[in-house]
């Protein structure tokens, strides 16, 4: 039902417990990176990045496009999965894999491409890790009838030819990053010709390319405006839960930069629905257990303003795990604050653990999850098992941020182990 799609996005900043440290330049800087944002990010996107409004109106055209792209996404109860876990808990999931691009990423790609088009821009540029974001941008640009260029982290480019094909099908130009077409990419390749790439490097390439060519850069995660747009997931879920007369106690999502988790959970946190919010990352990346809370660059080249966040360091090159969406070094500033003040709990799981979780979910519910989303499934299993031990009946809801139909090579690899 289109009525489930909210008319406003939700911004958590006015409801935080403490001020959000603002973006800033490093100490030795003689130019303003915030000023630089003016020339690469669509104006309305930037205005929304710095807004203090609790609710921001979603343009009618964007609501139409959300509907075209598969919103509202289903909120489903995973009864068969509950039975397999032998848990008294009820488990629901919001299925963002049902969007046409196959993940939640389309929720911010559409408005960003829409605002870029409104400015008369002919091409948008971005980076992608696992490929979900690049696919979403390629689709959003196609829907807005503008062109797109995507820098795809080399390891994913090689592991996920299906993603690349999908982006090409939507009309995007796709380059493996580090690439030869930017100065930053060439520099990285000179240092290490077999560099597997990272989201930070791909981001730096996309920004450099957008600056030099006068295009607009679309942001896939970390920045508050992305979290704002993603709030459509949680707001929609609240409408759906209200419709069935249920309220979740535990909200779970996987975390790369933090946008799908935040988009799903922030509207619940803001309206004081639920009592536990769990962000899940990879134990190969260790963002929560090893990350430090400090000002760091969101991109490896240091072109964007520094953000105060939980980070592994901008130069961190993550191991080539398959969950490309979780390989990012930083964590959105508002989410970093909420983790620090313990509003949000965290968990980390290994690729082996999440493979088991994905397999159980696929066999009981029929959906092959993206490996990133399987981290959320694994956390739901943990909470459901706890509930069984404590004889409690919580209502668990997790965000199944994307399907894994283009990740079958990962499943093949894990099967072979």
């Amino acid at each position: 039902m289109i009525e489930f799609i909210p008319r406003y996005w939700y911004n958590i900043v006015p409801d935080l417990s403490r001020p959000l440290p603002p973006p800033r330049d490093p100490e030795d800087s003689n130019f303003s990176r915030i000023e630089l944002l003016n020339s690469i990010i669509p104006k309305e996107v930037l205005r929304q990045q710095f807004t203090a409004e609790r609710y921001v109106k979603i343009p009618d055209d964007v609501i139409e496009l959300y509907s075209l792209a598969g919103r509202p996404t289903p909120l489903m109860r995973a009864k068969n999965f509950e039975e397999a876990l032998d848990t008294p808990a009820k488990i629901y999931f919001k299925y963002e894999g049902a969007t046409h691009s196959g993940s939640h990423k389309i929720n911010t790609a559409i408005p960003q491409a829409y605002f870029a088009k409104e400015e008369g821009v002919e091409r948008v540029v971005t980076e992608t890790g696992a490929g979900q974001w690049g696919t979403a941008v390629a689709l959003a640009a196609a829907l807005m009838k503008i062109k797109s260029t995507v820098f795809m982290v080399r390891v994913s480019y090689e592991q996920k030819p299906g993603r690349r094909t999908m982006m090409n099908l939507y009309g995007a130009e796709v380059y493996a990053s580090p690439s030869e077409i930017t100065e930053y990419g060439r520099k990285e390749l000179r240092k290490n010709p077999s560099n597997p790439g990272s989201l930070g490097i791909a981001m730096s390439e996309a920004i450099e390319y957008a600056i030099n060519k006068g295009y607009r850069y679309l942001v896939g995660s970390v920045m508050e405006v992305v979290l704002l747009h993603q709030s459509v997931i949680g707001l929609e879920a609240i409408n759906q839960f209200d419709y069935i007369g249920e309220t979740p106690d535990v909200l779970i999502g996987c975390v790369g930069g933090g946008s799908n988790f935040a988009g799903f959970s922030y509207p619940f946190i803001g309206s004081k629905k639920g009592s536990r919010y769990i962000a899940v990352s990879s134990s190969e990346i260790k963002k929560f257990s090893k990350g430090v809370y400090e000002y760091d660059f969101p991109d490896s080249a240091g072109l964007l303003p520094m953000l105060k966040m939980i980070t592994l360091g901008k130069d961190y090159v993550p191991p080539p795990i398959y969950s490309g969406g979780l390989r990012y070094h930083g964590l959105a500033p508002t989410l970093s604050l909420l983790v620090r003040d313990k509003t949000v709990e965290w968990m980390e799981f290994s690729e082996t653990e999440i493979y088991e979780a994905a397999m159980l979910f696929a066999r009981t519910q029929g959906i092959v999850p993206a490996p990133e989303s399987a981290h959320a499934i694994m956390a739901a299993i943990k909470v459901a098992q706890e509930a069984r031990e404590k004889k409690e009946r919580p209502v668990i809801a997790f965000n199944l941020s994307g399907h894994g139909l283009l990740d079958l090579s990962y499943y093949q690899k894990m099967e072979a182990k």
Binding site: L20, P22, S32, E35
Partner: protein
């Protein structure tokens, strides 16, 4: 009610003579409160122009308190000294006594709430004990609850920084932001930090701001034209403020 002009100037910028002339004439041209920038170790929330002005004066002067005293000779208006708490927190009492004894009426630490949210009330008490006023700086990054909580504590007004950094224009809805914050507070509201032009100032005032703070525009004019340019900006802003009396 008369709208307030808060004029920011980096202490000693661009040189002692022009700086003091600026204070004297900006007073005569209708500045209501002076906000004097005391060079911090790192002006982390300021834009490049103000950062550059700090570097410049740091290379020339050693004793900024003395320049506060000299400023006092040219104005009877309130003098609020602005610096970063991070730079002075280890010898805060000494810093406060020093600026007070050189003629300051109050202090403003733009990093107080952002970087010391758990201990800000202790610092405010410490400032009050030295019989200095404390202007509290809030911004769109400060949660509503905290803005309401600190609004009444801020003296002689609450300072709302509209943009993330000084002197850098990012697209923000000035009117919307000012109306929002007006609903949260019970105090006079001064809007600053990146007001970009006359339209921005008018929009802030129409939305209910009780005055504006100007800084980067003076420094920019000093750089481009010199003292006369900076004073022209004072005149221009005063005229806009007077449209709203």
């Amino acid at each position: 009610m008369k709208k307030l002009l808060v004029s920011y100037m980096t202490i000693g910028y661009p040189n002692e003579e022009d700086y003091l002339n600026f204070i004297k004439e900006a007073d005569e041209l209708g500045t209501d409160v002076f906000e004097l920038g005391y060079p911090p170790d790192f002006a982390k929330y300021d834009g490049p122009l103000i950062r550059k002005s700090y570097s410049k004066v740091k290379s020339v002067f050693k004793n900024f308190s003395e320049l506060i005293s000299k400023s006092r000779n040219f104005t009877e208006k309130k003098i609020i000294v602005l610096t970063y708490l991070e730079s002075v927190q280890n010898n805060l009492d000494e810093f406060l006594e020093n600026v007070k004894s050189h003629g300051a009426d109050g202090v403003l630490f733009p990093d107080l709430l952002v970087d010391f949210p758990e201990s800000y009330s202790g610092y405010i008490k410490q400032i009050s004990e030295k019989r200095l006023e404390h202007v509290i700086f809030v911004s769109p990054f400060v949660p509503d609850r905290l803005i309401s909580e600190v609004s009444a504590l801020s003296r002689p007004f609450l300072y709302y920084g509209i943009r993330p950094t000084t002197g850098i224009v990012t697209p923000v809805g000035v009117g919307t932001l000012v109306k929002r914050v007006k609903n949260l507070i019970d105090n006079r509201l001064i809007v600053g930090f990146g007001l970009k032009d006359d339209d921005d100032i008018r929009e802030a005032l129409s939305a209910g701001a009780d005055g504006v703070a100007v800084g980067t525009a003076y420094i920019e004019a000093f750089e481009a034209v010199g003292l006369k340019g900076a004073l022209d900006v004072v005149k221009k802003v005063r005229n806009i403020l007077d449209e709203f009396e």
